[in-house]
Symmetry: C2
Subunit: 353 residues, 2 copies
């Protein structure tokens, strides 16, 4: 199976419900590692890029879990497929833009990915459905440990793993959860909650990662600190805070249902009606409407659409995915028409099942 | 059958398709008549109101077609029922507000109504589905002729029928059609068309008659002139002009479907989705969405909703009708919730059939 074929399948974590799936869509953890004695990519020569990639490739081949995965050079991947990889959070936009030899490793179920020669030599990432950072950490840590047996990582006894950007130094670990917080948004509590989360040392971002606005009530919460704490401590801290955010969202949903029941139902069902019938839809509108329908499923109003269908649609309706499915580049109007048709078809299919 | 019971039935003309029903909802004709020697209502004493009403009542009882109809004094009708009569165009708002003895005559199928002591002593009205002014005129003229045999109408050889307001003097006839012109609105040709129609001596009004804005692309076109022409000439003139407006609307629809097919489909289906699923809906939004769905039926996109269902809904969702069906006064929020539920139910029913 090659990468292009793999991308035609739905990622494993999108097809399963996980812990607290009604509020937490997914958990992600990545670790940043660099090879001893090789230049960081920001300053590396073309040759150094190649040498680093070669060393890591050899290391991967010696690693039981990674050697069976799909390994491709970024230069061999079509632009359409590259965009799909970014939209699935399997690689970063940066990896595409960097010049020099870069590799991608992905497992067929798309729960593990590894970037070679992004900001750091190695960025290893795992992703799981729902809220399960610790289970995910076991998986990522195991692969990382395997890799460390065959590759010499830049490591300082004082600082821990050394990274291109000092904000990653230490554990090199960034753990994040993608949360759906519509009730906190509707009850206007979201800013207070975000402020509190930030004060507790975490970072809050939009759906599309660093520097993006939160869209459709989706928020990514991750650790800020990588240095001076063990991985277990960092994960404990995130878990504790995310649990509190979940509780806040749950009580906000109760308040909504008590105080503005019909207004919320109206919002939910209008979104449902528009998704089911529109002929033209921008990705921004789609994400906002899907957010409302997702809330409707959570509140028990909508039964004929599974939450997982929405999670899949959230990915499939992104611009890169629309073009991937159509097999060609499309302008924004063409994409909006295709997006609407895709949503209608998946809603109809979901209701037949 | 008393008036209240009659109002629980749908008016006959709403349950039938008529000529050019896709663009002309209904044809209406009313004639204004006054009794010889009795004061106009604007200057009449309480006694004069009573005397006039008594004379007309006696006249009606001698008239074959009217005597079998329901005759009620306005003072005996509940406010809720009064509003329903107004919203069904069976009586005017003015009739309710005038002080003094006033009567209403309505046939069970709600196609004929007669107001006693409105602006004029007698306002006789007929209403038919679609575009059929001449067929309707036969019906109204026959009743008017019957009445004239038993009542002495104020008539001048020079001017014709005398009326309280000089704009009605002559034939005393006002003929109107309710048109649905969404394509002329969407292609921004409507103002030009209205200007032309006005120049040709007709009046263009909104859905709710004199002095109202056009809502939901519905326009009422009627004759301005009542004096100096025969009824046949006036009707010929309206017919000719309305036919041209119909043709303009039809070619605007063709242009829409050629040039902005997907945008129009999107507009139509979004309206459909919102009507089918909303939980709160103002009458203004309802009328606008129903206008779009009506266009969708006309263009052959929507098959599971009959145009007549929409015509009925346009009446049933008016504020007075909502309260009539619920049997109590309701505030605007309660009405908006009830309206949305009514529309959902009728859409669901229509689709089961």
């Amino acid at each position: 199976m090659d990468l292009h074929e793999v991308l035609h399948n739905t990622a494993d974590w999108l097809t399963k419900d996980g812990p607290s799936s009604d509020i937490v869509l997914s958990s992600r953890i990545r670790v940043a590692r660099n090879l001893e004695r090789m230049s960081f990519t920001s300053v590396a020569s073309e040759k150094s890029f190649k040498d680093t990639a070669k060393l890591i490739r050899e290391g991967i081949e010696k690693t039981k879990s990674l050697s069976s995965m799909i390994l491709v050079s970024v230069s061999k991947i079509s632009e359409v497929d590259q965009n799909v990889l970014v939209e699935r959070h399997l690689i970063s936009r940066d990896l595409i833009e960097i010049k020099g030899e870069r590799l991608i490793v992905v497992n067929p179920s798309q729960t593990i990915s590894l970037m070679v020669n992004e900001e750091d030599h190695i960025r290893l990432q795992g992703i799981k459905e729902g809220f399960q950072l610790k289970e995910l950490w076991k998986v990522v840590d195991e692969i990382d440990t395997e890799l460390e047996r065959v590759l010499e990582f830049a490591f300082s006894v004082k600082y821990g793993y050394l990274t291109a950007c000092p904000t990653n130094t230490g554990t090199g670990m960034r753990a994040s959860v993608m949360m759906h917080l519509p009730a906190l948004v509707l009850t206007k509590q979201i800013n207070k909650v975000i402020e509190a989360v930030v004060k507790l040392g975490l970072t809050v971002r939009g759906l599309h990662g660093e520097g993006t606005e939160a869209t459709g009530d989706f928020f990514q919460i991750s650790n800020q600190i990588t240095l001076g704490h063990s991985e277990a401590d960092i994960l404990d801290n995130i878990e504790r805070i995310v649990k509190q955010v979940i509780e806040h969202e749950q009580s906000a949903r109760k308040i909504l249902m008590q105080e503005t029941k019909v207004q919320i139902e109206d919002r939910i069902w209008r979104a449902y009606g528009l998704l089911k019938h529109s002929r033209i839809m921008t990705s921004e509108e789609a994400i906002n409407l899907m957010s409302a329908v997702r809330l409707g499923i959570g509140l028990g109003h909508i039964h004929d659409i599974d939450r997982k269908v929405l999670s899949v649609l959230m990915i499939l309706t992104k611009p890169g995915h629309i073009q991937f499915q159509e097999g060609r580049e499309m302008n924004s109007y063409e994409r909006d028409v295709k997006r609407a048709s895709l949503i209608r078809n998946l809603f109809d299919q979901a209701q037949l099942n």
